[in-house]
Amino acid sequence: MTEARDALMVGRTSDGRLVQRPISPHLQIYKWPISMAGSILHRATGIALSVGTLLLVWFLVAAASSDRAYANVSGFIHSFIGVILLLGWIAALWYHFFAGIRHLAWDVGYGFSKPDTDRNTYIILGATGVFTLVTWIVLFTRL
């Protein structure tokens, strides 16, 4: 083998032989624990929010450009697809926000145990639900 990545998975037995160390089974082998769903969701919402920045840039550039450009972006936000996307991005924003705070807590060493991780995932989902609903209501009474 010539890949450093593969070479790192080679170990030595006690009698000195080189062996390929076992690797853990792939994703689909596992039953989905809630912590795994929560982790995948953090990445998924991050990607969704990256796409969502397009709307922010479009909005700012249109507002800085002309009335016509602004009418275009306004029309999109008020369209059916625009509203659905906005609802989704608001939910994604709150999930990524709360799960991100947990990542920072992990970075300083808090909440690593299995019961903590599971409980915190439910707290994050609950907080996301509440904040998302409130934001939806406040925002859409103004649109």
Binding site: L18, Q20, V57, V138, R142
Partner: protein
């Protein structure tokens, strides 16, 4: 087992053949995936920390321009405090986005040409989008 027998057992053993000269130490000494030690990791944490208050402010602020005419948006961003926070939000957001997407690309795209191309495209797109948002905000701040 004698030393010679042991050496010959090791030599004749069938197992993986490693032809790469790379130690664990070499790997951690700033020779990781992007050839930068912990810089990207730290910057991602730093921007996420900044984005906590900025996101709360932005969601609160969104009600000042959601559904409002262009003149209102321009007037709102023209306030120096709003312009400052908007610029901070935009810069932190696009920096954070670029770092996050880079990790995703490094995780899933392994073929060398595709990997390098998508890493460069990610940097270019994040930079241009961020720059466009900064220019638009500055224009509104100065003329709004």
């Amino acid at each position: 087992m004698s030393e010679t027998a042991k050496a010959s057992a090791i030599k004749n053993a069938t197992g993986p053949r490693v032809e790469v000269m790379r130690t664990q130490l070499g790997r951690v000494r700033g020779l990781g995936a992007a050839r930068h030690g912990t810089e990207a990791w730290w910057a991602e944490r730093l921007t996420s920390l900044a984005l906590i208050p900025l996101t709360l402010w932005f969601v609160y602020a969104a009600q000042h321009f959601a559904g409002h005419p262009r003149a209102d948006v321009a007037h709102w961003i023209a306030s120096p405090v709003n312009a400052t926070l908007m610029l901070a939000l935009v810069i932190a957001t696009f920096y954070h986005m670029q770092l996050g997407l880079q990790v995703v690309i490094e995780d899933y795209i392994h073929r060398e040409p595709a990997r390098v191309a998508s890493l460069l495209a990610n940097k270019a797109v994040a930079f241009l989008l961020g720059l466009a948002a900064v220019i638009a905000t500055l224009k509104l701040a100065f003329t709004g």
